[in-house]
């Protein structure tokens, strides 16, 4: 198992390098000019100097190499510096200054390091998207278990229909729909997510809860639709197995049979699906963040794209790619750990 994990880890390095090269070359073809916003009164030779200051004068392979070094070598150093200086967990370590004076990946929009902005935006995305994923899982699992246990019952039919709707209604419509119903007509929830809101006491917590409900539920509908189908299929596979009959025959109560024996075995594929879904939630949240005006990572990507901010787009897209590759690996390893029948070696 360990050798498999290590082998996969090493294999994922060329994959990630290739993906980063693909994204980089794609962005090199961009027709936009980062100097387009600079006033026309600036003479062309100054503009040329500014371009070179952004690192645009160098040949493509040099630019790519510089980006790689900045992303994989300097940014981790910045992280270590921050950890030893400000974080509570490692703050007791002596302060390091590894990244002192080194060039980081700089956003063309704000002229500040890309990773700093990403770190500012990360909590909003993690709160909304992460919460929706948890809520989705918590709703999906009981639905899946019960509809498999009572296959073809009214509940099962209704569950199938709801998950079909979850598959079919795109988030940009369900989001707008709940805004129309709950913010415009009923006035229960605010239609815009206020990220500057700070939770200090019970009242502000209620405000936070109210503004989170709609984006979380819209995203959770999608998660629920997929996961409840998987859970149901996996439960159905296991409910007809011989060991279930054995468990019933030896007189175990029905709850123990279903919720201990069958559920434990059915969770194996479902857990890997949950792991695989985590990165796609980040990608799918782009639309929901746009609908509810959450200034998270997805919204950052969109604004960066429209502003022709190539380093930001490159870094964000690559972060998404890392998430996908890492969670694919985690899913594979989890599958092997949970199911002793699976042998990778």
């Amino acid at each position: 198992m360990l050798t498999f994990t290590i082998r996969r880890l090493f294999l994922s390095i060329p994959t990630l390098l290739f993906i980063s090269l693909t994204i980089f070359l794609l962005l090199q073809l961009a027709p936009g000019d980062p100097m387009a916003q600079v006033p026309l009164t600036v003479p062309p030779e100054v503009k040329q100097k500014m371009r070179e200051a952004l690192g645009l004068g160098a040949p493509i392979h040099v630019q790519y190499w510089k980006w790689l070094v900045q992303f994989f070598w300097i940014e981790p150093q910045v992280l270590i510096d921050w950890a030893t200086r400000d974080s509570t967990l490692f703050g007791w370590l002596p302060d390091t200054a590894l990244a002192e004076g080194k060039l980081r990946v700089i956003s063309w929009q704000t002229r500040s390091p890309v990773m700093d902005i990403v770190m500012q935006r990360m909590p909003q995305t993690l709160w909304v998207v992460g919460m929706s994923y948890v809520v989705g899982i918590l709703i999906a699992l009981p639905i899946g278990i019960y509809s498999a246990y009572r296959q073809y019952s009214l509940f099962d039919q209704a569950g199938t229909f709801v998950s079909m709707i979850g598959f079919s209604v795109p988030p940009f419509f369900s989001g707008v729909l709940v805004i129309v119903i709950f913010s415009v007509n009923l006035g229960w929830f605010p239609s815009i997510y206020d990220t500057t809101h700070v939770v200090t006491d019970w009242d502000s917590f209620v405000v936070q809860l109210r503004q989170m409900i709609m984006p979380v539920m819209v995203l959770a509908l999608q998660t629920t639709a997929q996961l409840s189908r998987f859970m149901r299929a996996s439960m159905l596979d296991n409910l007809n197995q011989d060991y279930v009959r054995t468990a019933r025959a030896k007189g175990l109560p029905e709850t123990a049979v279903v919720l201990v024996h069958v559920l434990r075995n059915s969770m194996i594929p479902v857990i890997t699906v949950i792991a695989l879904g985590i990165p796609s939630i980040f990608g799918g949240a782009i639309i929901t963040e746009q609908v509810f005006k959450v200034n998270g990572i997805g919204q950052l990507l969109i604004t960066a794209l429209f502003a022709n901010d190539l380093p930001m787009v490159m870094t964000l897209t690559f972060i998404f790619a890392i998430l996908i590759v890492v969670f694919n690996l985690i899913a594979d390893v989890l599958y092997g750990v949970l199911d002793p029948r699976i042998r990778y070696d």
Binding site: S168, V176, I286, L305, I324
Partner: protein, 328 residues
């Protein structure tokens, strides 16, 4: 099926030797498939709705001959006719059953035109991704030499962040393609291209798996032993046998293509404003949805219903094409 029509002359002593029921015509596979498909109510309704919406957007402009681009500024912001049911002061007109937008364009006509664009993008992108997926899957499954490379490529594409890359690709290539093909054709080629190129992986994997299993079967061995060329084996013997999984993934592909195109339009990187699609109509209507919720609801409902019907159709097809489920 088991209705045994016992004729009187079968009641003699030779009855035991005779067949219990009169010999039936041999049933073709597609008849079985249709019989199973008919049992799935959701799939029937879904298929019917898909057919209806396709015909509606194809024939709609002939039946409802209002020009979708015609500005009628005096009659702008008309409400749909049904709002008169509860709000007698609403401005409605029988000549504009779904109302008009803020420039006085007829909403019914724009919905039909938008549906044309959305369905055209959906169908073309689906066909493109099927062609790429089947090609890659067949090559990887049949020719062992290409298997490793093609499957690594598939894995690579599967680990790409699709929606961000779509956004990147569309924003980057918008200008050059518009310049060379014109704004509408250029965007069409671009959107169909990027959706097709980023959604073939599932089809390729399924087809490869099926081909790997099929090519070890005796009929392929027999075909090879009489000297059939690989191309002919693929065309005559393998492809007809993988039609079912391809059809199922086609329905899934159509659904995702329609949703992806609408999402791109919604995020503002899709077609230009004077070329309506359902997603574009929806996103254009969002700023004023408090006054005119129907402009958001109508295209949204159309997208959702179309995708829902496609999904149900796929569900029914999967059941109907699976010989293990069929006949139960």
């Amino acid at each position: 099926m088991t209705d045994d029509i016992a004729l009187p002359e079968d009641q003699n002593d030779l009855g035991a030797l005779k067949d219990k029921e009169p010999q039936k015509e041999p049933r073709s596979q597609w008849r079985d498939v249709w019989d199973q498909f008919r049992k799935h109510k959701g799939a029937l309704v879904g298929g019917g709705f898909l057919l209806f919406i396709t015909l509606a957007v194809l024939l709609g402009p002939y039946l409802w001959s209002v020009d979708a681009q015609k500005l009628d500024i005096r009659n702008k912001d008309l409400r749909p006719i049904y709002t008169a049911l509860w709000d007698s002061s609403a401005r409605v007109s029988w000549a504009r059953p779904f109302g008009t937008d803020n420039l006085g364009r007829d909403i019914m006509a724009t919905l039909i035109a938008g549906g044309r664009a959305s369905m055209a993008v959906g169908w073309t992108a689906m066909v493109l991704s099927l062609v790429i997926g089947t090609l890659v899957g067949v090559c990887a499954g049949y020719f062992k030499r290409t298997d490793g490379v093609l499957m690594r490529l598939t894995d690579l594409f599967l680990s790409l962040p699709i929606l961000p890359l779509l956004l990147v690709a569309v924003t980057l290539f918008r200008q050059p393609l518009r310049a060379s093909f014109g704004p509408e054709t250029g965007m069409f080629i671009l959107i169909v291209g990027v959706i097709g190129i980023t959604s073939w992986m599932q089809t390729a994997r399924i087809v490869r798996g099926e081909i790997l299993a099929l090519k070890e079967r005796e009929f392929v061995l027999a075909a090879r032993s009489i000297g059939t060329t690989p191309m002919a084996i693929i065309r005559r013997h393998l492809l007809p046998n993988v039609v079912s999984p391809i059809m199922v993934s086609a329905t899934l592909g159509l659904a995702t293509a329609i949703i992806t195109e609408s999402a791109l339009s919604f995020l503002g990187v899709g077609f230009p404003s004077d070329f309506p699609t359902w997603g574009k109509l929806l996103s254009d209507a969002v700023p004023r949805m408090e006054e005119f919720p129907e402009r958001v609801m109508l295209p949204g409902i159309l997208i959702s219903l179309t995708v829902l019907s496609v999904n149900y159709l796929g569900d029914g097809l999967r059941d109907a094409l699976d010989p293990r489920i069929r006949g139960r």
